[in-house]
Amino acid sequence: MNAEPAEPFREEVRAFIAARAPRLRHQEGVRVPQSPDEQREIRRWLRELYEAGYLGAGWPAEWGGTPDHHPLHDLVLMEELFRARAYRPLDQVMLASHAILAFGTDRQKADLLHHIRRGEHIWCQLFSEPDAGSDLASLRTRAEPKGTDFVVTGQKAWSTDAQWADMGMLLARTDPSVDRHAGLTAFAVPMHLPGIEIRPIREMTGSSEFCEVFLDEVRLGPEHVLGDLGGGWAVVTSGLASERAFVGANAVQLEMMFGDLVSLCRAARIPDGTIAIAHEDIQAQLAAALSKVEGVKLIVRDTVERILQNEEHPSDGPLAKLAYTELNVELCELALEIIASSISVDAAEAEVVTRWYENFLWSRALTISGGASEILRGLVGRQLLGLPRDS
């Protein structure tokens, strides 16, 4: 890939992360701060990333962007955050800023963007519902017009970060009488408003990444509407396409996981006392895994190159995500199989075992969220292969 022009930038980013990233205990899949101290540190870190021009550089100059920004730098930043296992800004922060930039009024831009840049506004998404996940457009939360205001009632689910978010991007139904997409409107919602109740959900990983959010007659004004009335679908889907080059960071993630797999095989002792990697069958499994890892890395890099050249096909992103998340599950299953066949793991690599257990459980979040594999297969089938819709 055209990595060379980015090399000095990469060095700079690496040094910045080493010096400034908060030192949090890294647990795969856990992103929510575990204490007020961690929360302060994360906000400080986000502010510094914006101040240094590593985040938000692609914004218009009047809102703090850098005119000569290169999208490749977004990718380099994300790759290095992965490599350092440092805290990374979540999709919803990017989603919110893009939605505000693309659909917000000048007043909303002036009111909201600087809070994001200063780490003062953490955003969450209020999209999914208990009965509307993959089929998001079937959502039932109502935002009933009352004069120029709206009264919102409903239940949201799977909202990452809602328990400490300052703002939420809400998708609600403002008009039940029209086409299900056309009846939806997006809102920027301060999370402290009366009528909002947040309950963290404990997941199978043991941590609480997601929340249920109950909205009980929450009163919103016209200043909270993001984009057009009835134009909510365009707002949330355009945002989801932002920072598309970030998909490239998954190549780094796969590289690191494969490194962990080899470390595990060098440290895992099977019952006869030998290490796993000394066995030909394990080497064959590792080789098969490596060939798949390299294949998906090529898919991801190929996708990034097309994105950077503005030549991507609509199916490229979904295909890369499908390939990456499914291989992720496969690698985790292989790691657990190797751990299961061992009686002990050398103490120096105990951390690797922990990481595999966390990764294994977390891997299912990745094949379900942000487009479940089954939805993505349908999408790629239609868009890439031209197969008919199943209806």
């Binding site: 080899v262 080789a287 390299e294 090529l298 089954e374 790629v380 008919p388």
Partner: protein, 320 residues
């Protein structure tokens, strides 16, 4: 397909397909591995009868060797009038003393009709040219599985041979082209199956609308894309003379040899009973993919090779 391929070969050779890995000074294009890979994919997709992988690898050695290979042989190969097949001598029979070579090469594609034979010695980078047709005997490999090409076991008994050096890229090139041949077939069959499921109706709609069909085809498309990018990447590195080329070739070989027959065999299932017929022809690609894996790399040998490159073998020496 099959035996008649030589009649049309001078025409294809006239387009330059035989010269992609021959130095310009000898009338070729240099070392255009990526172009040879594309040609191999197309020939694989067409079930062409030529031993293209072996031909390209051997003419690459002949034309690049510091020993003067017979000029008219190289010229003849470039013109499509002569054919050189490539074989790998069985290790037990690697004898090449002063009185010629005596030995066996078990799997040689196109040996029965070739005009010359280049034999790679497994333990060294040297190659031995046998330029005298009929100097070797060929026993067909039975049972015959791939019917699109002919393959045989070659026996040599005190046959005079010319030692050629400079064959470092010959085997990776040979194997990569075999993988490309398989890939070309998989790509063509995937495309054909996708068209088929769009047209074929059952229960009142195209069968491609059923998720049971659609999702598997998408998974095969993802696998095929990974294979295709892997083969292209290996070609690029081999062409550039990258020190990582051999590893990259092994990765491509592993991906193709372990996925291709699986994908093809499932395409038969997705095509239904018509896919099971001789005439539909999917089976030809399965047969050919299997045979390519036997000639070049199979998952087991590719994995052994990778284990060496990755340093998993401990103190034991790596195979190249």
């Amino acid at each position: 397909m099959g035996v008649d391929w030589r009649a049309g070969w001078p025409l294809l050779a006239g387009l330059g397909v035989a010269g992609f890995c021959v130095p310009k000074a000898r009338g070729g294009y240099g070392f255009e591995v990526a172009a040879a890979v594309v040609a191999s994919q197309e020939l694989g997709g067409a079930l062409h009868g030529s031993p293209y992988a072996g031909l390209i690898a051997s003419v690459h050695v002949l034309a690049g060797s510091d020993v003067d290979a017979p000029a008219e042989l190289v010229d003849g190969i470039l013109a499509g009038e002569r054919v050189c097949a490539l074989g790998i001598l069985n290790s037990a029979a690697d004898k090449s003393g002063g009185d010629g070579i005596t030995g066996v090469a078990s799997l040689v594609d196109g040996a029965a009709t070739a005009d010359a034979l280049l034999l790679m010695a497994p333990s060294s980078l040297d190659a031995l040219l046998v330029a005298e047709p009929k100097a070797w005997t060929v026993d067909p490999i039975l049972p015959t599985f791939d019917v699109s090409r002919s393959c045989g076991e070659v026996r040599l008994d005190h046959v005079p041979a010319l030692r050629c050096s400079g064959g470092t890229s010959a085997l990776p090139l040979y194997r990569l082209l075999l993988a490309a041949d398989t890939l070309g077939g998989v790509e063509r069959m995937l495309h054909r199956t996708v068209s088929y499921v769009r047209d074929r109706h059952a229960f009142g709609r195209p069968i491609g609308a059923f998720q049971a069909v659609q999702h598997r085809l998408v998974d095969h498309a993802v696998r095929t894309r990974a294979m295709s990018l892997g083969v292209a990447e290996a070609a690029r590195m081999l062409g550039d003379g990258s020190p990582r080329a051999a590893r990259e070739v092994a990765l491509a070989e592993l991906a193709v040899s372990s996925e291709a027959t699986h994908v093809l065999h499932d395409l038969v299932q997705l095509t239904g009973a018509i896919g099971f017929t001789w005439e539909h022809g999917l089976h030809h690609y399965e047969r050919r993919a299997h045979h390519n894996a036997r000639l070049g790399r199979n998952p087991r040998s590719a994995a052994r090779s990778l284990a060496g490159f990755e340093g998993w073998l401990g103190r034991r020496s790596h195979e190249r």
